[in-house]
Symmetry: C2
Subunit: 336 residues, 2 copies
C-alpha cells in the first residue's frame, strides 16, 4: 500500500495538504480469510448467488436488490425494501469496498463478509427465507448450481457455509481503486483540485479523519458514538437517537448509539446518509457531522470544500459481466 | 433465415421429422422499425434504463426485476411483484426474443417494443411512476443520462419517446440463437435426440405448431382463444376464464379470451405457465394445452416427447456486461 507523508509533493501546490496527513491509496485487492481463499470459480458462483432473487421467499429480492453494484453499491433509499414491500429502520451500506470493513452491518454484529452474507437471506423483512435449510434445499434442485458449487468447492457441498463463502469471495472483488484521491496519493499532483486539497486539510484539521481513517476512510473496524454531542440541534428533526446501534444487539447500555464508522469511499454516490438514511445531501451530512460529532457550526465554505474532497473519493468501478443464473427447467418454487 | 423441408436430412434418423414441418432457425438479428434503427449507443443507453430501478416510484423495481435477463427473461413467478409488494393478475412474458413478437403484452395491446416499454413504468402496481413527465424529470437530473442520451440521439432529448426507443433497441439484442432445434434446422442431425424428434413430429401432427408457428414458435403476431374448448376439465381448478384477454382492453365480446400466442423459445426456463402463471410444470402445461385447445387427452409418452422437444428450444444466452448506472451525487429522490 502506497503511503507517505505529504511534505515533498503537496507543498508545491497553492493549497498544500497538512503535514499531519498520511496518504493511503485504496488497495486493489482485499485480504481473504485463511479458510476462504479467493478463487475464480468461487467468485463466479458468488456473483451468481449475489444476483439471484431465488434466494428470497418471494423470488424478487437478491443481495443486489439493496446492494446494487450497478449503482453505488446500495439502493439510494433511506431504508431498503425487502420482500412484500417491507422496509426496516436502517439504510443499506454500500457493498463496494465492504471488504475493507473489519466488521459488517451498522452495528458491526457480523465479523466477516461471510457472516454478513448469512443475515439478510433469513431476515423476515429483507429476503424472508424461513431458514438456510430452505435456501440450500432450493439451490440443490438447480442443476447449474450443483455444477457451480462443484467447481468452487472440493466436494461441491451446497450449504450455508459454502454459499456465504462464495458470496463473500465475490464481494472481496468489489473494489473501486483510482479515485482522484488515490491518484493524488500515488503522486499525481494534478488529480485533486485546490478546493479538494483545502477540503482534505479541513477534514483532517477538524478531526473527521480521526474516525474516518485508513485507506477506506472507515476507521478500520472502529465504532463511534453517534450522535456524540447531544446538543439537540438536529436530534428532534432526524430522530437519530431512536436507534441504539450496537446496544440493540448487546443490550449493554455502554454500547448505546455506537455505530460502525462507515467508509467515505464513493460517499457522493450513496445518498441518503446516516444509519437511518434521513439526510438527503452530502453538504447537509457534513454540516450535521460537524455539529453532532465535533459540536461545531461549519461555515459554508468549509462545508463546500469538504464536499469537494469527498467527491474525490469516488473510484473506478470495474466492468462486470452479468452472471447467467442457472435455469430451473420444469420447476416452479413455492414463492410467497 | 435457413428454412427447408425436412425430407432429405431427417429421413435417415430412426424417428424422422414429418415432411409437413418447415424448419426455421431463429434469426440472429431482429428487424428494427424505420424510426428507431438499432445503434450501439442506443443499445447501451437502453440497457442502462432497463436495469435502472430509479424508473420506479420506490426506486426498487426496474424492467429487469420482472423481466430478468440473467434468468429466462422473466421472474418465474405466477404474477410479478411490483412496487410496494403489489401483484397483478398476469404472468410476466419473457423479454428474450420478444423482438419477434409482432405485438406485446398477453392481450397484444402494444404494437411494438417501444409502446410496450412505456406501459409498466406508469402502471400503479408495476413501477408506479405517476407520469412519464416525472420519469423524464428524474432522468434529466442525472448527468450520466444526459451524456448517454446525447450519445444515442441527435439533439440528446430526454423524453418518453427517446427513453422507450432506447429500451426497445436494447431488447432487440436479446436473442437466443443456436438452440438444439436451431442446430438441427441448420443441418446438424445429431442436435436433436430421437425423443425430441418424436416430440416435434407429435406437436406438428397434433396441431400445436399451427398456432405456435414460425421461427419463434409464437405465430408471428396472432391471437388465439384460450381456452378454446370449454370442456370444463381444468377450468374450475385454474380459473383460466376469469381473464377475458383482449376483451379486457377492447370491451368487444368477440375478443373474449383471446390472447397473444406466446413464444415457445426457452419455454423450459419460464415456468410457471399461461397468462395467469397457474401451471407449475411443462408437462402439465402440455397436457392442459392438448385438452383445452385440441380437446384431447394426451398419453404420457406423447407429453414426455413434446416436453423433450420443448427443451430443445432453449437457446444460447449472449454474454452481457452490466451497465454502469450513472450516479446521482448529492441527490436523493423522493421515493415512495
Amino acid at each position: 500500500m502506497f503511503k507517505f507523508r505529504v511534505l515533498a509533493t503537496a507543498l508545491a501546490l497553492a493549497s498544500s495538504v497538512s503535514a499531519a496527513w498520511a496518504f493511503e491509496a485504496l488497495p486493489t485487492e482485499a485480504p481473504a480469510p485463511a479458510d476462504n481463499p479467493t478463487t475464480e470459480a468461487k467468485v463466479e458462483l458468488g456473483k451468481m448467488l449475489y444476483h439471484d432473487p431465488r434466494l428470497s421467499s418471494t423470488g424478487t429480492v437478491a443481495c443486489a436488490s439493496c446492494h446494487n453494484t450497478m449503482l453505488g453499491g446500495e439502493d439510494n433509499r433511506p431504508n431498503s425494501m425487502g420482500v412484500n414491500g417491507q422496509t426496516g429502520g436502517r439504510s443499506a451500506p454500500t457493498v463496494w469496498n465492504a471488504a475493507f470493513n473489519k466488521v459488517q452491518f451498522w452495528d458491526g454484529r457480523a465479523e466477516s463478509l461471510e457472516a454478513q452474507a448469512a443475515g439478510p437471506v433469513t431476515n423476515p423483512i429483507e429476503m424472508g427465507m424461513k431458514s438456510w435449510d430452505d435456501v440450500v434445499a432450493r439451490l440443490k434442485t438447480i442443476d447449474g448450481y450443483q455444477e457451480a458449487f462443484a467447481a468452487a468447492f472440493p466436494g461441491g457441498e451446497i450449504s450455508k457455509d459454502t454459499a456465504t463463502k462464495a458470496i463473500a469471495a465475490y464481494e472481496r472483488t468489489l473494489i473501486t481503486p483510482n479515485s482522484a484521491y488515490d491518484k493524488y496519493a500515488n503522486g499525481d499532483q494534478s488529480a485533486l483540485t485546490e478546493q479538494q486539497v483545502r477540503g482534505l486539510n479541513k477534514a483532517a484539521e477538524l478531526g473527521c479523519t480521526s474516525c474516518h481513517s485508513g485507506p477506506a476512510f472507515n476507521g478500520g473496524g472502529s465504532f463511534q458514538k453517534f450522535p456524540l454531542h447531544e446538543n439537540g440541534y438536529f436530534e428532534a428533526q432526524y430522530h437519530f437517537m431512536k436507534d441504539k446501534g450496537v446496544a440493540e444487539v448487546s443490550k449493554n447500555p455502554a454500547d448505546e448509539h455506537l455505530f460502525k464508522v462507515p467508509t467515505l469511499r464513493n460517499v457522493a454516490l450513496t445518498a441518503p446518509y446516516f444509519h437511518n438514511g434521513s439526510v438527503k445531501t452530502l453538504d447537509q451530512a457534513v454540516k450535521l457531522m460537524a455539529k453532532l460529532q465535533l459540536d461545531k457550526d461549519l461555515p459554508k465554505q468549509d462545508v463546500d470544500d469538504i464536499v469537494a474532497f469527498l467527491n474525490a473519493l469516488t473510484g473506478e468501478f470495474p466492468k462486470q459481466t452479468m452472471p447467467r443464473l442457472p435455469g430451473t427447467p420444469d420447476k416452479t418454487f413455492n414463492y410467497d
